[in-house]
Structures are given as structure tokens and as C-alpha cells.
């Protein structure tokens, strides 16, 4: 299998080896314009939810002033966060895919939500990855489906200048709190990867595998000595950088006297650009150091979790307490993401808690963590099912549904922790980190057991720069149509609006007006009103 990964170390070579020089640039990026950065953060949690029909997910009430559900209370009840006025709840959004198409439904959900939805050409509509064979192509549960192009975060990054920053040293970041999500023993990436780069020659998207290890991420982004600088070191670095720019200024000033009049604007523009940087450099010389997060004992190097293995009875089974460290992985990635944003090292992050067929064991692993107590279902019971998350999502009955509720609550709480911290962290250019970040919190299927593609439980946060209508509960589409496409009707193609419409809506709010459709026209009905002011 060809490895299409972009070598992150290569991308960051200039950061990791050039501590003093690179350190000042992120801060310079803010200072040069006096404007706050604009960011995109996509957070994925796996396996949908079984709580859509039982009142545990959807709020009650109207478009404003709604009453949060038990699961949404993570973001609103003040125990972790009070973000109701900073969030938009979407109901009635459809994942743009057909349930008739062959291929793993979780993978299909990943692809349809964040990559260009494809044309319905029958059961074999999904593009196939490199390991596809005639038999996998005809397999209803095929793992070889893939993205037809780059994912939405990468498209936005390429087309929305504000997301590039000055540009930022790291164009985009992909992280995960599950080692299983970075299992590259085959190219079954579609439910592990949430970001795709544009393919060579415009072909299929190239998976950008998420990094599970905080230690590796830390090393990549905060290489030794990069950020822990004393005020004296900062001042010296600023002076050195200024001398470099002064040297270029000298050359340009000399050129000004030599070139014909026709070339003077070119020289002047160059001079202006450097002077602008010098001004920002002067400001950054006294700026506080951008400090990397501190982790007791250092950043975690998680052991690979145990993956699904072939079962003697056929199919696959999960083995062992997979990713028992997932909570700590998340805690450290959370700090890494915050720091990346605070220091403007990147403006585009996609994070996935776990693989779409997640085998993470909550009872035996995650929830044994002493930091996590009180995870009970609405009836006051703790999780009691010994299976992994994906298996739980397909179990029926009260206990299984309650178990999934607990897992959903866990993921909502973790996300709420990050968002709450972002909401109280001032941004250099004004506002909070959350104000200046459009956060999309999503999952690949709606009803986990049915692999539902309608009523996708998607939440939006932050995005003040786009005038996100915080506090809104938007019930989209035609209510009658929505009723016809109940989550249990697994073979339905859902009604509009589609996730692709959501991306077009965001693009237009962002000034990327050229994006009038995302993916095949059949999955586009135009911008969704009410999301942005």
C-alpha cells in the first residue's frame, strides 16, 4: 500500500530546528493586523447516539430559550460549561449519502459528512481505495471506500485566507484520542480519518491520519526550546529578526535608486511589507512568551490499543481494554489544541475521539480513571455492558441504550471542557478563543444501531466572527418529511437540508462565496438560513 501521509516532520522542520526565529512569528501574525485569528475546529465522536428518540438528545422548546436535554446539559448547566448562548443545535440535518450504497455504514457516514458527497450511481457509488478488489467492491460492508476529494477543512483552508494565518507554521492539525484511529495496517481509513488532502493530479483525497500520541504531537509542535523563552531571549530574538529585515530593507532602499519608474511600485510594496513586519516585531518583542502546556511526567506515549481481530466464529471481535488511556490522551490533546490556537501555530484542527467502529471499552478502561466519577445513566445506574462502544451501539434494550447514553455524556463532557476553557481564554486579537473559532461537533451516524443518516446530531459553537446565531435550536427541513424518514428506517435517503448545505452556508458566511455547492448537485439545496446572522 502506498503511504500518502504528508510527513509532518518535514512540514515542521523549520519550526523544530529554528527555535528562536520561529517562535516569534505566531505572535507577529496577530500583531501585524491587530485582528483576531479565525479558526475552524471539527470535533468528531463515534457511533452516533441511541438517545435521539427518547428525549435525551434533542432540546425542548422553540428556536430560542429552549430547554437543554440531559445530554446537551454538558454544554449548558454550568457544571462544566455555560455555553447555551454560544451554541446552535441543528435538528433535521441529513447526512448526504444513500443507505443503499455498498460499504461500511460508519465509513460512509464519515465520508458523507466531511468530504464532498458523491453522485448516486447505484450501489457502487463510493470511490474505492487502493486495496479495493472486485470482491470488496461488491461487499455490502466493504472497508475500501474512500473520499473523492479533499475534506471540507482542507478545502476551507485552501480557499479562506483567514484560516491560513500569516501563514501559520502548521497549516492544519489532525489528532485523535484513540490509537485505533491511527491503525494503518491497511488502507481502511474512511472511518478513522476525518481529513483528506487533495490528491495528486486531483484524484482521490489523500488521508491525513490523525496523531494519537500527545508525545509525538508535542514534539512536532512544541519542539524543545521553541517556546520556553525568557524575556531576554525574546528581546534578543526580536532584535536578531529585525536585523535580518533591516538587511533586506537596505537592499530594497538601494534598489529604489536604481530601478526605472515602472518598477518603483514593486519595490515600494516590498518595503511596505517588511516595515509592517518590523512594526509587529517590535510589539512581539515585549509580548509574553507563548508557553507550551505542562504535563506531569511529560506528554503521554500511549501504547497501541488492541484492535479488532478476526473471530474464530467469523467476523471480527474486539480484544482487551482498548485505549484505557484515552481519557489522558484527550486531556493532553485538549491542552495541545488550546496552545496551538493561543500561539496561532495553526487555525484548522480536526479531532476525532475514536474510530467509527470504536472498540474502546468504557466500563473496564476509560471510566475506571479516578478523574471520572459519577457517570450514570438517567436512572442512576453505572455502565454495565462489557462490550466496546461500537458493539454497544448495536445492542438493543434499556441497558444498552443507557450504556450508550453514558458514553455520549462522556464525549459531550470532554468536548464541553475544551469549549469552556476556550471561552474563558482571551485571544490576542480580542474576544476569546471560542469566539474566534467555529466549532462543529459531529458524529458519523445519527441513530447508532440503525446507522441513521437523518436528524444528524450536529452542534455548532463559537464563531462570533461569522455571527453564529448562538442560542438557537434550528429545526430544519420539512417536519412531515422528517417524520417519514425516521431513524429506524435505515434504507431511506433523507430529506434536505444536507450536511453539504451546512458547509456551503459556512463558506458563504466566511466570504468564500464561490462555494455554492459541495459535492454532487443532488446533495445541495442551498445555504441554510438562521445559522449565521
Amino acid at each position: 500500500m502506498q503511504d500518502f501521509r504528508i510527513p509532518r516532520r518535514a512540514l515542521l522542520a523549520g519550526v523544530g530546528t529554528t527555535a528562536l526565529g520561529a517562535m516569534l512569528r505566531p505572535i507577529m501574525a496577530h500583531a501585524q493586523t491587530g485582528m483576531a485569528p479565525q479558526r475552524l475546529l471539527l470535533i468528531h465522536r463515534p457511533c452516533g447516539t441511541s438517545s435521539l428518540a427518547n428525549g435525551r438528545w434533542w432540546p425542548t422548546g422553540g428556536p430560542t430559550g429552549w430547554t437543554p436535554s440531559p445530554l446537551l446539559s454538558s454544554f449548558t448547566d454550568g457544571k462544566i460549561a455555560s455555553l447555551q448562548s454560544n451554541m446552535v443545535v441543528l435538528k433535521g440535518l441529513t447526512c448526504p449519502r444513500s443507505m443503499f450504497w455498498l460499504g461500511d455504514q460508519h465509513m460512509a457516514g464519515f465520508l458523507a459528512m466531511v468530504t464532498p458527497p458523491v453522485k448516486d450511481t447505484g450501489p457502487q457509488s463510493w470511490p474505492q481505495s487502493a486495496s479495493a478488489t472486485p470482491s470488496t467492491l461488491a461487499d455490502p460492508n466493504s472497508k475500501t471506500i474512500t473520499s473523492i476529494d479533499q475534506s471540507i477543512d482542507q478545502l476551507f483552508l485552501s480557499q479562506i485566507p483567514a484560516l491560513k494565518g500569516a501563514p501559520c507554521p502548521v497549516p492544519s492539525v489532525q489528532l485523535t484520542a484513540s490509537t485505533e484511529s491511527s491503525d494503518q495496517t491497511n488502507d481502511w481509513h474512511a472511518s478513522r480519518v476525518t481529513s483528506y488532502a487533495k490528491g495528486p493530479s486531483g484524484g482521490l483525497g489523500v488521508p491525513l491520519w490523525p496523531e494519537p500520541s500527545p508525545a509525538v504531537a508535542f514534539q512536532n509542535y512544541f519542539a524543545a526550546g521553541l517556546m520556553n523563552m525568557t524575556p531576554a531571549q525574546i528581546a534578543r530574538a526580536a532584535a536578531q529578526n529585525k536585523s535580518v529585515l533591516d538587511f533586506a530593507l537596505g537592499g530594497l532602499s538601494s534598489l529604489q535608486t536604481q530601478v526605472p519608474a515602472s518598477q518603483l511600485p514593486k519595490v515600494q510594496a516590498h518595503l511596505d511589507a517588511i516595515r509592517q513586519l518590523e512594526t509587529s516585531l517590535a510589539a512581539s518583542a515585549t509580548a509574553p512568551a507563548c508557553t507550551p502546556p505542562m504535563f506531569p511526567g511529560g506528554p503521554l506515549s500511549p501504547s497501541p490499543g488492541m484492535f479488532s481481530v478476526p473471530s474464530p466464529q467469523g467476523g471480527y471481535m474486539n480484544v482487551g481494554a482498548l485505549d484505557s488511556q484515552t481519557y489522558t490522551m484527550w486531556e493532553q490533546h485538549k491542552e495541545i489544541i488550546k496552545t496551538m490556537f493561543m500561539c496561532d501555530l495553526t487555525r484548522v484542527v480536526s479531532f476525532t475521539f475514536a474510530y467509527g467502529n470504536s472498540g474502546i471499552h468504557f466500563e473496564n478502561g476509560v471510566l475506571n480513571n479516578p478523574a471520572l466519577t459519577g457517570y450514570k445513566d438517567p436512572n442512576g445506574n453505572a455502565i454495565s455492558d462489557p462490550d466496546g462502544h461500537h458493539d454497544i451501539s448495536h445492542l438493543q434494550g434499556g441497558d444498552a441504550v443507557d450504556a450508550q447514553y453514558i458514553i455520549d455524556k462522556y464525549y459531550n463532557d470532554r468536548t464541553a471542557e475544551l469549549l469552556a476553557e476556550m471561552s474563558t481564554t482571551p485571544d490576542i486579537g480580542g474576544g476569546s478563543l471560542l469566539d474566534n473559532t467555529l466549532v462543529v461537533y459531529w458524529t458519523e451516524v445519527s441513530d447508532g444501531n440503525a446507522h441513521g443518516a437523518v436528524d444528524m446530531p450536529v452542534l455548532l459553537f463559537g464563531g462570533k466572527f461569522l455571527n453564529l446565531n448562538g442560542g438557537s435550536y434550528l429545526q430544519l427541513g420539512n417536519a412531515t418529511n422528517n417524520a417519514q424518514f425516521s431513524p429506524s428506517n435505515k434504507y431511506a435517503k433523507g430529506p434536505p437540508p444536507f450536511a453539504s448545505d451546512l458547509w456551503v452556508t459556512a463558506a458563504q458566511a466566511w466570504g468564500y462565496s464561490a462555494l455554492t455547492a459541495y459535492g454532487d448537485p443532488m446533495w445541495n439545496t442551498g445555504p441554510i438560513s438562521g445559522i449565521f446572522g
Binding site: 522542520a13 529554528t18 486531483g202 536604481q258
Partner: protein, 581 residues
């Protein structure tokens, strides 16, 4: 002079009701040369290519320049004019990579951008009019950091990096990177920067020094301003260093090599015999030949082929053959560039194919995966580049079927340098969607609907390729007729003003082979090729200045048909040694 009375002419007579004059097909345009002709200001329509280059952050030349003399009119030119204005041109990212490779021994990673991602279209671009912004400076800073990080050793520093050996290194290497001598003051400035990093270690010292060296305008700009451009009038002579750089960027896409640099240092490069000898020497270098091949490949749009996407259902197997087709096109081109005549471009029946390609395209059978030369016979693949599968696939932009529009536009702009046309109206797609019938019927309806000066000017050059499907496979029946499988009709009428003729007249084309014949009999296509390749070599459209020396270059190319001679004549022309103010 010869009069060609063939099917085309007979058809034309019918079209014109027998009353039209027959054009002189054998000598399109007026006369053979204007090198000593009238001086009539700048050319009549010579600015469209430079207009493309003057917008945004640079230019993109894909053959869209206008004919230097206006179609069918007498060429006009400016006696003594240069090929280009006095200017500073920001180096391209490719040039950046090449210079740091050749001067500092650093291979800049392909996965890391200098200022932006590589082209995803295969079009040739340059920075003649680009301006630097703050983000550009920061991108150059990061690129310089990258170069510094990859400098694993400083050759003059055998026992650790210190000021003495670093200064030696800069003295010996920096002039080549800057393409001019480095003054003592400049060197002192760099060493002060180097020394300012002493407390932070050698890596930081090298980083700062390389940032300063590579952010300096002497590195970032190609300078063609002579010595007194700020006060002079008329034109300036390039300095020896500027001339050597202009030659090396044209031929190597990089800094001068050592021998050329010596001629710049002693000033002898400005002597025509020395310049000619250096150009001749350089033309023998494999790196130069590869670079020039690339330029011609850009001109012919072969470089767009790797970016073409075809529908896998409509054309199964195309993606797997795409690399082979590109390689085949390069071998076809190489034969003509280094051992053939320009006219072979349109008459050659030699193709390169392996077993898979030969099978897919119905070419004479070969076996194995290696590309081998085959010679076609019969009606198929007999018009050189016009019937090269790579070109037919690349110029056919429709992923699922025929595309006479873009095939026609490719000929219209790339080969004919015909006048620039306005963009289609906003409702063009909606109107086109109402057209029914075969590909040919839709084209004719399109021509009728949009009227004169529109599709009728270029669609005919696409219609003549109807014997080749969307990926360039020869066919004898038209799958788009009703019922499918009707005979191919690849006749097409070209209106007045596209193909040069004296007097102006419409042309009836009877298939792609007929078009090829017209192209080799006239000079319009040869002149257009010379125009485009001069633009690539200069990174500027010489039509702006309209130098009569350009006409000399074109005349020479028409006579010799030799690509190496064409580049040689551009670089040794008097108009290359100066720049207009």
C-alpha cells in the same frame, strides 16, 4: 506560390457561392519578413499575453497570446526595440528551489511550499508582475529557515562553524545566489547578523545568516535594469551579470553555471561571439535540454495531462494509462526537438507506445511495458501532435464525452495565437443544455446561437478531431448520432479572421489531417510557436515591445524549424541584450 484546389477549396467555393477569392494558402500573412520593414509603433495586437501576466501575482502563459501582426495583416514592428522592458521579476518557486540546490547544495523538500503550492493545472506561470506582501516575506522566512536547517555542513567550515569560515563561504557562494557580486558592506552586514546569534548556537547563526541572504532582494528578484535605468531613457544594456542570469534562467531555470559565471565576471559575455559560444555550450547540457523540453511541453499543453480527470465509467482504464500517455508525449516531442523539424510536429506518424497503450488505442502491436516507437498507417494518428493521444485527452476537458470547444480553443490559442475572445456569457451553460443531437449538431447549433466572433471561430478545430474520442482513441463511427454509430463528419468551416490568408477568406477544413497540412504550409503556427516560446524564455511577452528582432527570430524558426536554433536565436538576438525603458 501555389494554389490548392482540394476538397476544402471546392467546398469553400460552394459556401461562398463561387464568388470568393481563394486565399494564398502557401504563404499566410503578408510577406516573409518584417525585420527590415516598416516601423509602425508597437504591434497591432501584441499585448494580450502580457495582459495575462500583469494581473494578480504573476503571469500564466499557456499560449494565449495574440498574433503579433493581427490576423491576415502586415506585421508591424519597432526597429531596435528590446524583447522586454527593464524590470525586476520575483523569482518563481521553482527557480528558488533550483538556485538553493545549485548554489547551496540544498534539496528543498517537494512536500514543503516556498510561497505556495505547486501548480495543479499544468500551466506555465511566472512572476513578472508579482508584488511582495507581508505573507510573502514570512513565507520566504520559513523557506530560508528550511534551507538553513538542511545545510548539514558548510564546506569551508571543516572544524566547526565560525565567523572566518562563514565569511569565506559567503564570499564564494553568495554571488552566484545573488547573481551579482556581493559588496564588502553587504558582507559585513551579513557577518554582523551571523555574530548576533553567537549566544544561541551555530544553528541559529546559520539560520539568521541564510534568512538575511535569502530575504535580500538581490536573491529574490531577477534584475534586468542595467546600470542606469533610473535616469536613462530609451533602453539599457544588461550588465554582464544580468545577461548571464537571463541566459541561465532561460536555459537552466537557475543561476549561471561555473563557466557562464566566469564570462559574467570578466564581462566577456556581452560580446556576441562569446555569448553565442556560451549558449551553444549550454545547449548541449542534459539539464538545459530537459528544461527546454519542459518549456515546449508547456507550450503544447502536454503538462496539463497529469492533471486531467476522466470519468472512470466512461473511460475505464484511462487513469492507469495516464502516466504512459504523458511519457509517450515526451518521447514524441524529444524526437522532434532534438532531431526533427517543427513541421514534424504536425506530420509525424511516429508514436511511442507499450503493449497496454497500443492495445487501448489500436496502434501497431508491441509487447511489454516499455514504450517503443511505432509508425502509424492509414487514416488514424497521422497528424503528429494533433493526433497524439496525450494532447487529445488533455485538450478534451469533458470528463465523460466529446469536447470540441476546448479542443478547438487549444488550437485557436496555443497554435494560432488568434485574438483573444470574450468569456462566455453567464447563461452559456443553461443555453447549451437545451441543445440536442450529436456532438456535431450541438456544435453547429452553438455556432448559430452565439453568432459571429464566438464559437464559430474555434469550434471548427475541435470538430475536425471527431474521429478521436474523449481520450484520443481513433473511431470510425460517431456514438452521438441518432441512432448511434453514424458516420463521422469532421468537416468544418473556419470564418475569416482566424487563419491567416491574403486576402482574408474562410477555410473549409476536411478533418484533422487537413488542418495539419495547412499548419505546415503556412507560417502562422510557426510564428505562434516562436512567440510563445520567446515568452517562456523571457518570462515576458515580447509582443508588447514588438521588436523587429522578434520577426527575425520567427523568420529564422520558419526556415530552420529547429527548436534549439529558435532558443539560440532568442538568446543571442540584439534585442535580448537590452531592455526598454
Amino acid at each position: 506560390m501555389k494554389i490548392k484546389l482540394d476538397a476544402r477549396t471546392l467546398a469553400l467555393l460552394l459556401v461562398l457561392g463561387g464568388g470568393a477569392c481563394l486565399g494564398n494558402v502557401g504563404s499566410m500573412g503578408a510577406g516573409s519578413s518584417a525585420s527590415s520593414g516598416a516601423v509602425a509603433g508597437s504591434g497591432a495586437s501584441g499585448s494580450s499575453a502580457s495582459a495575462a501576466a500583469s494581473t494578480g501575482n504573476g503571469g500564466s502563459a499557456s499560449g494565449a497570446s495574440a498574433a503579433d501582426s493581427g490576423v491576415g495583416g502586415a506585421p508591424s514592428c519597432t526597429q531596435g526595440a528590446s524583447f522586454a522592458p527593464a524590470r525586476l521579476s520575483l523569482i518563481t518557486d521553482d527557480e528558488y528551489r533550483n538556485v538553493v540546490r545549485d548554489v547551496f547544495g540544498v534539496t528543498f523538500p517537494a512536500t514543503v511550499d516556498v510561497t505556495g503550492p505547486p501548480s495543479a493545472s499544468g500551466s506555465y506561470s511566472y512572476n513578472e508582475n508579482a508584488e511582495v506582501e507581508t505573507t510573502t516575506v514570512q513565507a520566504y522566512q520559513r523557506a530560508a529557515d528550511q534551507v538553513a536547517a538542511l545545510m548539514t555542513s558548510i564546506p569551508t567550515c571543516t572544524a566547526g562553524v565560525n565567523a572566518t569560515c562563514m565569511e569565506q563561504y559567503l564570499r564564494s557562494n553568495l554571488p552566484l545566489a545573488w547573481r551579482r557580486p556581493v559588496t564588502d558592506d553587504e558582507l559585513a552586514g551579513l557577518m554582523a547578523i551571523f555574530n548576533s546569534g553567537a549566544m544561541d548556537g551555530q544553528a541559529r547563526q546559520i539560520q539568521l545568516t541564510m534568512e538575511a541572504a535569502l530575504l535580500h532582494p538581490a536573491f529574490l528578484y531577477r534584475s534586468e535594469i542595467g546600470t542606469n535605468a533610473a535616469t536613462a531613457t530609451g533602453k539599457v544594456q544588461l550588465t554582464p551579470y544580468e545577461l548571464a542570469s537571463a541566459v541561465s534562467f532561460a536555459l537552466l531555470n537557475s543561476s549561471p553555471d561555473a563557466e557562464l559565471w566566469v564570462k559574467a565576471q570578466d564581462g566577456s559575455i556581452t560580446q556576441p561571439p562569446v555569448l553565442a559560444a556560451e549558449v551553444a555550450r549550454l545547449m548541449t547540457l542534459p539539464a538545459v535540454q530537459a528544461n527546454l523540453m519542459k518549456l515546449v511541453s508547456y507550450y503544447l499543453d502536454f503538462e496539463t495531462l497529469p492533471f486531467v480527470i476522466k470519468d472512470a465509467t466512461a473511460y475505464p482504464g484511462f487513469a492507469a494509462l495516464q502516466g504512459t500517455l504523458y511519457q509517450s508525449s515526451q518521447m514524441f516531442l524529444s524526437d522532434i526537438m532534438w532531431g526533427g523539424h517543427f513541421s514534424d510536429l504536425f506530420t509525424s506518424r511516429r508514436m511511442y507506445a507499450n503493449e497496454a497503450m497500443a492495445s487501448a488505442y489500436g496502434l501497431p502491436a508491441v509487447s511489454g511495458t516499455a514504450l517503443q516507437a511505432v509508425t502509424t498507417t492509414g487514416d488514424a494518428y497521422g497528424a503528429g501532435v494533433l493526433t497524439q493521444p496525450a494532447l487529445l485527452a488533455a485538450s478534451n476537458k469533458n470528463a465523460i464525452g466529446d469536447d470540441v470547444i476546448h479542443r478547438g480553443l487549444w488550437v485557436y490559442y496555443n497554435l494560432l495565437c488568434a485574438p483573444t475572445l470574450p468569456p462566455p456569457p453567464a447563461n452559456a451553460s443553461a443555453v447549451a443544455a437545451t441543445f440536442m443531437g450529436s456532438t456535431r449538431q450541438q456544435s453547429l447549433e452553438r455556432d448559430t446561437t452565439c453568432g459571429a466572433g464566438c464559437h464559430g471561430r474555434f469550434d471548427p478545430f475541435g470538430l475536425v478531431t471527431l474521429s478521436y474520442d474523449g481520450i484520443g482513441r481513433y473511431r470510425t463511427t460517431d456514438p452521438t448520432t441518432t441512432p448511434p454509430g453514424g458516420p463521422i463528419d469532421d468537416d468544418a468551416l473556419v470564418p475569416i479572421g482566424v487563419l491567416q490568408a491574403n486576402p482574408p477568406m474562410p477555410f473549409m477544413l476536411t478533418g484533422v489531417d487537413d488542418v495539419a497540412q495547412i499548419f505546415v504550409e503556412g507560417r502562422q503556427v510557426s510564428d505562434c510557436a516562436a512567440d510563445n516560446l520567446t515568452t517562456y524564455a523571457l518570462q515576458h511577452s515580447p509582443d508588447v515591445e514588438g521588436s523587429c528582432d522578434l520577426q527575425t527570430v520567427k523568420d529564422g524558426f520558419l526556415q530552420s524549424g529547429s527548436f534549439p536554433d529558435l532558443f539560440t536565436s532568442i538568446l543571442t538576438s540584439p534585442a535580448f541584450l537590452t531592455r526598454d525603458l
